[in-house]
């Protein structure tokens, strides 16, 4: 034991914890640790970063083809929302909850919302970079730029929010990180049926259109396909209205579910 004085000198400045800068400082400290943990898990890292861009390879066979392009971009969205966002946040949350890290952190100054933000941020940032990258990678393969890129990105952000919320809700039913392989299945299925919407008979498609990835598909078509210049910006908004409302409804639902079922400690 050293002789260092364990007690503070008098008169140190009292930082106001409601001060925004200290909230940001806390989220940054937590996010950095979570990002470090994500990077240390090589397999997760590869799944989260390289894997989601694989569908872009479809364009190698059909460069410049808009239909192929949209299929590829939706494939990327699907994988980016499932792996770096949903599965990554789910396993990070469950692991840290079981290690009692979350409980320990709740004894400190960090508020619950700050902890949740820090758990979601590394994976969300990776997904956002991948979603933005589709525009550049698409251009490399002669795909036109999206007619309404900002709206495309808004859709991407809503998708991230949906799958973060679903990850927190799923965590409540997930006892260990291994169990996540099973408990994640319903959300995986929900996401996967969305990619099949074009191939389904109409009666099924009308239901499946309401799933998040199907809405992302429709939004991508609306914001991207009309990029030949013949359609005005206003039209992309009109075409995007339906899928965008579906995504907003899912965002609200996912946040409500996440809040409703969130648990900070392992079940006794």
């Amino acid at each position: 034991m050293s002789t260092t004085s364990p007690v503070a000198e008098a008169g140190r400045p009292a930082t106001d914890p409601r001060n925004r800068s200290s909230a940001v400082r806390r989220v940054v400290a937590l996010t950095r640790a979570n990002a470090l943990l994500m990077v240390r898990n090589r397999l997760t890292l590869i799944y989260a970063t390289v894997f989601p861009l694989v569908p872009m390879a479809l364009l190698v066979a059909n460069p410049g083809d808009a239909e192929t392009g949209v299929t590829a971009v939706v494939g990327v969205l699907f994988l980016a929302l499932l792996f770096p966002v949903y599965y990554n946040v789910l396993s990070l949350f469950v692991t840290r909850r079981d290690e009692l890290v979350l409980k320990r952190l709740r004894t400190g100054e960090a508020r619950d919302g700050e902890q949740l933000a820090a758990l979601a941020l590394p994976g969300s940032a990776v997904a956002l970079v991948i979603i933005v990258a589709t525009i550049g990678v698409g251009a490399l393969f002669d795909l036109p730029l999206p007619a309404n890129a900002p709206l495309f990105l808004v859709g991407g952000l809503l998708g991230i929010a949906i799958f973060v919320g679903l990850a927190f809700a799923t965590a409540a039913f997930t006892k260990t990180a291994e169990a996540a392989q099973i408990t994640s299945l319903p959300v995986m299925v929900l996401a996967t049926v969305g990619t099949l919407v074009a191939a389904l008979p109409d009666s099924f498609a009308r239901v499946v259109e309401w799933t998040p990835i199907a809405a992302m598909d429709a939004l991508t078509r609306a914001t991207w396909l009309d990029a030949d210049g013949s359609i005005a910006m206003a039209d992309t908004w009109r075409d995007a209205a339906d899928p965008l409302s579906v995504l907003v409804v899912w965002t609200v639902l996912a946040v409500v579910l996440g809040k409703r079922y969130l648990r900070w400690e392992p079940r006794a």
């Binding site: 930082t15 200290s22 400290a29 290690e99 709740r106 004894t107």
Partner: protein
């Protein structure tokens, strides 16, 4: 907003109750508990496993709401005024919670970003004798090292009040003494400490105030001296051959080779005994005289409680009291 004077207690608990579950499976772990921790003191909450120590502490730490009753830490509500309380308190949970894949230094750096007024990480490492372990991943630490890292986190933000749930469980005797020294040093510098322990020695060495908990209530509280009052002191010695002891105002038991005397007036009895031995030239080998220890008080209390609960048909009582 509550204002507190320097004399007001650091922690005040009134009529605390904490229930788990509902209906027929409901269980009340804390059953009307009062506790006062004076500023600058070390107070120990003592009890067998299952007495309700951790359940109590979690409410004081603001991690769980009280089912009933009132808790004030530095005059503040630990849940409603969480931010103000957390800035001035340090908590050590019964089980440590760290990510195994982060190094010791990374863990402390993260925590340093979470407190308003962090110590330098190197100072925190040195305080808990972890200076040469900074680059090691937490999963590679020994149990004792993890506990010391946990304590470093607790003390990282210069807390005025620290709440420690079994701080030395899992430590080897040497680290335990080091932690005691550190806690004494903190107390000397004015930090208020509330700790739970089932090591009686720990309470005896550290605490000015001891509260003994059983079945969700404080059954005895006071300074170690006050608690010892009314409990007999013990004199023992090897039974001398061929002599009969004088009549003493005490309980005398000859247990084969050892004679044990229990007395409420240690000095008087000892004077009588030694005077008699001197007059008769009797040598009392292995002579030992001691005050009632916390251990004997604790055992007496645990005994009483288990009898009460056994009488009430509580199946958990014996297991809890004998552990």
């Amino acid at each position: 907003m509550n204002t507190t004077t320097p004399d007001s207690p650091a922690i005040e608990v009134r009529g605390l109750r904490r229930r788990y579950g509902r209906g027929t499976t409901a269980f009340e772990a804390v059953r009307g508990l009062d506790l006062e921790v004076p500023r600058g003191s070390v107070t120990a909450l003592l009890g067998v496993n299952g007495a309700g120590k951790t359940s109590t502490l979690e409410v004081i730490e603001g991690l769980a709401p009280a089912s009933d009753g009132e808790v004030r830490v530095l005059g503040l509500d630990p849940i409603a005024q969480r931010a103000d309380v957390r800035r001035r308190t340090g908590v050590l949970l019964q089980s440590s919670g760290f990510s195994g894949e982060l190094t010791v230094r990374e863990t402390l750096q993260m925590w340093a970003g979470l407190v308003s007024d962090p110590r330098p990480v190197d100072e925190a490492l040195a305080m808990l004798d972890l200076a040469d372990r900074g680059g090691v991943r937490v999963r590679a630490l020994s149990g004792g090292e993890v506990r010391r890292l946990d304590l470093a986190v607790t003390l990282l933000g210069h807390p005025e009040v620290v709440m420690l749930d079994e701080p030395t469980t899992g430590l080897d005797p040497e680290s335990r003494r080091d932690v005691w020294r550190l806690l004494q040093q903190l107390r000397d510098q004015g930090t208020t400490i509330l700790l739970t322990t089932h090591y009686l020695e720990e309470a005896e060495v550290l605490a000015e105030h001891v509260s003994i908990m059983a079945a969700g209530r404080i059954v005895k509280a006071g300074t170690p001296a006050e608690l010892a009052e009314g409990h007999p002191s013990t004199i023992s010695f090897a039974t001398p051959d061929g002599v009969t002891l004088p009549p003493l105002e005490a309980q005398v038991a000859v247990d084969g080779a050892t004679t044990r005397i229990e007395t409420l007036e240690l000095q008087d009895t000892l004077t009588d005994l030694l005077g008699w031995a001197a007059r008769h030239g009797v040598r009392l080998e292995q002579l030992d005289a001691r005050h009632a220890s916390l251990e004997s008080i604790f055992l007496a209390v645990a005994d009483e409680t288990s009898h009460h609960r056994a009488a009430a048909g509580d199946p958990a009582s014996l297991e809890g009291a004998t552990r």
